[in-house]
């Protein structure tokens, strides 16, 4: 039986000690000698000497010897001479053999130093990452707040002087017209139309920046109805235009209704604008079947564009037409692209000079919750 027990102790890969009630080592396994660099086979040394004077351990082991109460997972950290600092998990239990009535304590040692260090390292890394994330989030929040304050200020303060420029110019034109010649009146008209242009630019830029900031809310959007209501607005604005608009029934997409309205508004306003030189124009809205169920197109038979410059279409402030032909700020298609990208989609354009334009876009998040 002794040999059986001894061979178990010898076979276990963790360091094991057998102590007597005075905490002297009566037996130890190979793993112990190897781990703690104790000369092989040495026994009968006190566990409170020889570099094993671990605070708290004597008391715990004394309790085991006195009351027979075992402990498990008692963690100690100690600097062992010749071995270095170690973190150990200790189990101890009172064992009584029939042949030897004096109680013995079995002390099992698990070296968790590396695991502990890895955990500590991971924790430190986590802390660093969390700190960095907090820092970045704070920076982002500050940037967002500054952006909001900036937009707020632009929205209020930049428009006010424009109103004055336009208002006083208009008053000059109306009440002092007799004291101005044609050229003077022409200059004032230029002043007025330019202040209006800046105002439009400000509005478009504010809309563009708002698009990137607002939180998206996914829902099923009826693009057919949306497009029809936008076209109705356009017809109301210019009731004399002859435009046939064909909108495919049952066009739906999952996306943010507000953002999609902005995108469709810009695309349809473009189609409306660039067909304005035609006595009778046609605009079509439909599903681009070959590009999948979430691909759509808007086509017009208006002025079109030179495909050589197609890449410039979606750049901010890029315009392929002269202001005097088709007025605009050059922000409309950037806005559309931003909306499509926020939906995870893509947009491209096809066209030819004098042959109309066609915009394809996808809204692929059909199954987004």
């Amino acid at each position: 039986m002794r040999a059986f027990a001894a061979s178990i102790v010898e076979t276990v890969r963790h360091p094991l000690l057998v102590l007597d009630a005075e905490l002297r080592v009566r037996a130890a396994n190979k793993a112990f000698y190897a781990a703690f660099r104790v000369p092989d086979g040495q026994t009968d040394f006190a566990l409170n000497g020889e570099g094993f004077d671990i605070p708290g351990l004597q008391d715990r082991l004394g309790q085991v010897a006195d009351s027979g109460e075992a402990f498990e997972g008692f963690e100690v950290r100690h600097d062992f001479p010749g071995v270095g600092p170690k973190t150990l998990l200790l189990n101890a239990r009172l064992v009584v053999s029939e042949s030897d009535p004096s109680p013995m304590i079995l002390l099992a040692i698990e070296d968790v130093t590396e695991k502990k260090e890895a955990e500590d390292g991971l924790r430190r890394l986590n802390d660093v990452l969390e700190d960095r994330m907090r820092e970045r989030t704070a920076q982002l929040e500050t940037a967002n707040q500054e952006m909001e304050a900036f937009c707020y200020s632009v929205s209020h303060d930049l428009r006010a002087p424009l109103r004055s420029i336009d208002g006083f110019s208009r008053e000059l034109l109306k009440s002092y017209a007799d004291r101005l010649d044609d050229r003077g009146r022409h200059y004032l008209q230029r002043v007025r139309s330019n202040s209006q242009r800046i105002a439009n630019l400000i509005d478009d830029l504010l809309q563009l920046s708002r698009l990137s900031q607002i939180e998206m809310k996914y829902e099923t959007v009826d693009l057919t109805t949306l497009a029809a209501s936008i076209v109705a607005d356009l017809r109301q604005r210019e009731p004399n235009r002859q435009v046939t608009v064909v909108i495919e029934p049952g066009l739906t997409a999952r996306g943010d209704a507000g953002l999609l309205r902005v995108a469709l508004e810009n695309l349809l306003e473009n189609a409306w604008k660039f067909t304005s030189k035609k006595p009778h124009a046609t605009i079509e809205v439909g599903r681009a079947g070959h590009d999948g169920p979430s691909a759509f197109f808007i086509r017009d038979d208006g002025a079109g564009f030179d495909p050589a410059f197609a890449g410039k279409l979606f750049g901010a402030f890029q315009r392929l037409h002269h202001e005097r032909d088709f007025p605009g700020t050059g922000i409309g298609l950037v806005t559309v692209q931003r909306v499509v990208h926020r939906h995870g989609g893509t947009i491209r354009a096809e066209g030819a000079v004098g042959n109309g334009a066609m915009f394809y876009f996808t809204l692929p998040h059909g199954d987004e919750p």
């Binding site: 937009c151 707020y152 929205s155 209020h156 303060d157 428009r159 006010a160 002087p161 424009l162 109103r163 004055s164 336009d166 208002g167 006083f168 110019s169 208009r170 008053e171 007025r192 202040s195 209006q196 105002a199 504010l206 708002r210």
Partner: protein
């Protein structure tokens, strides 16, 4: 008619001049009291400081309120007007530059009666003033103070 006062709360002298010009062109005959910041507006409405002795019960027919004002901003003026039983029914029309959602929503939340964004195009501003006059000075029955 002349006791139907319009209270214009506007800090920008150019905007003040243009608004008064628009009133003139639209033949608005009402007396216009101009307060040039939020604090002055509150002094007028609650008859304090320079306006001590004014009858608080004599509410203006309508109050045209700019939002971005020195000292006390427009939303705070609106908040205090709505919080005081003497002025809570005052018709307040926000007349401002911005159409930022935050301004629009907060104005209505605080009980603004109307929100008009001043257009850059003076022609359209005249149109807005015409409508404003027709609605708030002619059609709308004010809660009292003007015609006992």
């Amino acid at each position: 008619m002349s006791q139907k006062i319009i209270l214009l709360i506007e800090d920008n002298p150019d905007d003040e001049e243009l608004t008064l010009l628009a009133f003139q062109k639209c033949k608005v005959a009402n007396e216009v009291v101009v307060a040039r910041d939020g604090a002055e507006a509150l002094d007028y409405l609650f008859a304090t400081a320079a306006y001590a002795g004014r009858d608080v019960a004599a509410l203006p027919q309508v109050c045209l309120l700019d939002l971005k004002l020195p000292k006390v901003d427009g939303l705070e003026v609106l908040r205090r007007v709505r919080a005081d039983p003497r002025t809570r029914r005052l018709p307040v029309v926000i007349l401002t530059s911005s159409k930022q959602d935050q301004d629009l929503l907060e104005s209505y939340d605080l009980g603004a009666n109307s929100y008009i964004r001043k257009p850059v195009d003076f022609e359209r501003f005249l149109e807005a003033v015409k409508q404003l006059q027709l609605y708030w000075l002619v059609l709308n029955e004010a809660p009292g103070g003007g015609n006992p």
